[in-house]
Subunit: 97 residues, 7 copies
């Protein structure tokens, strides 16, 4: 029987590659994956932090109707160098395409 | 006595199939289920990320009454390729219909 | 001495019956209870997802007073087929009446 | 030395009595306490769900001052029959007076 | 060497005394401390529940500046008699002065 | 080899000294550090509770632009005497300067 | 086979160096890293606390469209000296550049 792969195998394959990490505080960090543990505590190198900026567009559709749409975009905030990310703050880790 | 099924059996059956994963940050990821563990840490392949966009429609019903309805719709945000999702951020996993 | 019942006994009795599951993200899933474990990870079959839609009614009571009332209603969002629900996202499980 | 009482003793005394359960999602469930465990997973029978409805009253105090007061009231939402409540969603359990 | 005191010693000293318990849902419960355990699950007797009411005062400072100040006050909501409080919902416990 | 210091050493040094404790509910408690445990459950004596008051200043910059700035300030709310703080509600503990 | 690095190695290298710690309450603390443990409880010395200040800019784009953009900036709030930070409140730790 072939052994089934486990989630941490995917992180192991991404070591020393650029990954995109989404955080719960609406931020994103992109960097080289140096290390991680079973809690998904993660260290990235040459990391850049992107921050969500929320914009609400309010349109007067007609005399009686107004429409408000909220959108969120990521903007580069700062270069971090090396960064330690606490596992419980991480939503997803994905190799940069 | 017949052995009763357990929740992870349903995930095992979905391996290598397309699944829809709802996340706590109002996002949704659709992809091929590659692996998962007991914490429900999950890896998807050929994944696509959908993001919630909130719209509020404000209608002036009559002179004295205004009605505001908030709705949320999912929009394709980006193709992710492989993605590791931390289990505690997952609400539900469902085979794509 | 009579043995006292435990909470999971109530879930065991509901197996293969229609149940209403309230989730923390203001959604509701109704389906046939297939399985659950001690973390309350739960699998439903023939499931339907209902989503909260918030409406705010703003009434001008008199010259000096405005009243804003917020209400939430559930609307059928989509048919899910089989769905795995992570236990920590569940508020309550109740047999459909 | 007299043995000191423990919190679960109070729940044991309330078995088969009507209790009011406050939940973290601003809901309240009233029902007959059937069972509970150490995680405070709880089963109620003949249960009724009450939901919070928020009202904001905006008063124009004088030319330069506006006062907005937010209040929350509970309204009967539906009869649930038997309901399983996941322990971590519970704030308090109190015998109905 | 003198043994250092531990946090639960302070709760032990407060047994059978009136305590003020602040909860995470902006509520406060005042009652006689009957029992607690290591999770800080707590039972109070002759308890009263106080609820936060938020008021926003909006002042037009001058032609170009408006100031909005939000304040929260506690109001008696209801008498609870005996109440079981789940530990993870508790912020603080303090003997009534 | 010199032994490296651990975080709880810093709390031990602060025993019987005035400390500032920041809580997750935007409150601050200042008092004399009496005891703490590994969960950071903490007891303070002669404690004072400070509460955050939020002010939003709205400025009309020019015909087409309005700027809203939100600020939070701490105000003394009440003297607590002895207070038990549940560890998971604590953000930071710092000796008063 | 070379031993792979682990996340806490990165924190060990940062001992006695200036680090930037992002917290979940939108605050940032910068200080000299004195100690940490496996929960990421962390002690900093000569620490400074920065606090997020939110500004919303509302622009009238044209007759029918209004655009609201929310931004957050950090401002020095106070010097803390030594500070103990509870691990579960930490998002990231990064050596100051």
């Amino acid at each position: 029987m072939m052994e089934q792969s486990r989630p941490l195998d995917a992180l192991n394959k991404a070591r020393n590659k650029r990954v995109v990490v989404d955080l719960k505080n609406q931020k994103q960090v992109i960097g080289t994956l140096i290390s991680f543990d079973i809690h998904i505590n993660t260290v990235l190198d040459n990391a850049e932090e992107y921050e969500a900026r929320t914009t609400k567009v309010v349109k007067q559709v007609d005399d009686k109707t107004r429409e408000e749409t909220t959108q969120t975009e990521l903007h580069l905030k700062k270069k971090l160098g090396t960064v330690f990310l606490r596992g419980d703050t991480i939503i997803s880790i994905s190799p940069e395409k």
